[in-house]
Symmetry: C2
Subunit: 343 residues, 2 copies
DNA sequence: TAAATTTTTTCAAACGTTTGCATTCAATAT
DNA sequence: ATATTGAATGCAAACGTTTGAAAAAATTTA
């Protein structure tokens, strides 16, 4: 019958009739400990499965080696890629990532941040929830900042909050995507937009709009319809688009999921892609290369964003107080595939 | 200039020339504290942004309210659904989920488990990595068990390790999928298998094989090819299948990704789906409903698994030592769509 | 053999919080 | 005026570990 209570240094000390300090030193290979003592203690510790209580150490050293990662969702390829990037850099350095999913809720986001601070997380990576964004509240962020806990924005950001951030150049990615469609001769380009208010949605939308304007094309309000990033949310909007008197001959989706939803509807209508209808997505998710036809998209370097964000965190950590926040914008890259390649 | 060091109860005590106990009680609305004292202290605490140090509390109470979730990946729909399910149940109860991604590595898995124990996680949900599975090591699991830390297996499991587990009935799902293909008149059914050794791979493979046998069909070894669950990994195997003298007229993919990869290759070859080639996947990922044609698949209730696993954890927690481990097997469900519906 | 030196071990404090028990102080009852 | 009560606060220990300084034990030197 194994003991339920974890064995402590004191238990071992009692067993050897020595002081806890000796045990501690023995376990940590302190030079001032007798070789025999050390060996005996280490052996016994292993035997009984002693494992250092990191909680007490955290208290003592005021270091928890824990970082918070607060994101609205982990259901998309991109988000998981970011986490992978963070993980790749920070895990080997001994950090534990505490991943918190807000589900786009302001309340949950607030609660998580508060909890992370209470648990003395040493840094927080945050992609703000949509509700937070909409509401414009950010006292919960002030709280983090006033604690001098490094706070790194990922992707979605408050324009007017002073902190480091790592984002992808959504604007130029979208611009390039739409310009490509124009080059391919598409005349009526619709946009399946993301939720209002989010940086990613708005930046891509702006890229779309500016590109049309630059090329002297009309921005038809009715060709711009909202979605929520999910496949399903593209179905009805696309149907509506295709039933118009002057339907679009190309669709720029806010992400791959949405573009794939649109592709499905267009094919159901008997449209040939890319001949009758051009399609471009965003994200370069793994599946996009294997749809039929394959999907033209914009690459979004999620892993790199995670790695850059880690870098920002580390340099803020090493800075001595007077740290100048940094903004990293990674370029996005158009990946031309079949869905838009009209010859 | 805000202080970098978090303000403690002692700081507040000093400010009010009272003892830490008084501050503690005041903050916790202890009845034996003078109303004015209480109000003043609470006000001041709020003003200076006091936040209880949960680390010290954890040490004192030996409770961390932290649970480990150790999974090989979070890049698939299914895994994120499971996490969502765990989250939905446990977050409201005040638990923090510590999500650890092993990337299928035994070493990382071991390290994470050890770390979770050191950090005194109160329970661990584990989907073992492939390497662990292959190697057959499980001392790192014994360690968890001997600590009496509830350990719940998710999905992938060691047959011979005594603990609670929540899994999906992969076998019957696969069986139903293949039987459906047979009913539809497909004669040569190939299987794009998952990595060897993993429960999910093997169970689905077994369902496939047993179904063929039950229906008196030949199990052709050359029609069974390994993949790694990813889209890309289906491309070459499918090409190989289609170039055979007697190529298959249907493919059962170990998951949707693989089936979608196969779909792409088949369509490239000019095969019509489902007329010339039947396809079935596994997972019922969101995208599967919107491929063209839509993909017949087997639903895998990830969220439910997460919720069931939570339940298992909670009942083990509430049990007084003599807990009989439980095995939950959730049914999987065939979802018939276009890719196999040959009339 | 005593003093000097080296090796090994112990003591005590610290990290931040809670809590049973003891103490203080004022108000009330005798 | 004194005993009794009650309210409000303080003390000290505890959680598990580390670490500088002090103490003890063992060894070497003269």
């Amino acid at each position: 019958m194994n003991s339920s209570r974890p064995v402590t240094i004191k238990d071992i000390a009692k067993r050897f009739r020595c002081s806890p300090s000796t045990v501690s030193r023995a376990l940590n290979d302190h030079p001032a400990i007798n070789e025999d003592t050390r060996k005996n203690i280490q052996e016994y510790a292993k035997e009984v499965g002693y494992q250092r209580n990191e909680v007490s150490l955290s208290l003592l050293n005021k270091k928890t080696a824990t970082l918070g990662v607060v994101v609205p969702t982990i259901s998309n390829y991109y988000e998981t890629a970011v986490i992978e990037g963070l993980h790749n850099v920070l895990q080997p350095m001994g950090y534990t990532l505490n991943i918190c999913v807000t589900n786009e809720s302001y309340l949950l986001e607030k609660e998580y941040l508060s909890k992370l601070l209470s648990n003395r997380a040493e840094g927080i990576f945050l992609s703000v929830s949509q509700e937070t964004y909409d509401s414009g509240y950010y006292e919960h962020l002030e709280q983090v900042a006033s604690r001098k806990t490094p706070l790194i924005f990922i992707d979605r950001e408050y324009e007017d909050f002073e902190t480091s951030r790592a984002t992808v150049d959504d604007y130029h990615g979208a611009f390039a995507a739409v310009e490509h469609l124009i080059t391919m001769g598409y005349k009526q380009i619709a946009h399946l937009k993301g939720p209002n208010g989010l940086t990613v949605s708005e930046q891509r939308f702006k890229g779309y709009k500016d590109c049309l304007i630059k090329h002297g094309m009309e921005v038809r309000e009715e060709l711009i319809i909202n979605t929520n990033f999910k496949v399903e949310s593209a179905i009805l909007p696309t149907r509506r688009l295709l039933e118009m008197e002057t339907p679009p001959d190309a669709i720029f989706g806010v992400n791959d999921q949405v573009a794939i939803g649109a592709m499905r509807v267009a094919k159901d209508k008997g449209l040939r892609i890319p001949q009758d209808m051009g399609l471009v997505g965003f994200d370069n998710s793994p599946i996009s290369a294997y749809t039929f036809p394959s999907l033209t998209t914009v690459n979004r370097p999620g892993r790199k964003i995670g790695m850059e964000a880690s870098r920002l965190f580390l340099s803020e950590l090493n800075a001595s107080g007077d740290y100048a926040h940094e903004s990293i914008v990674l370029p996005s890259e158009l990946i031309i595939r079949e869905s838009s390649l009209r010859i």
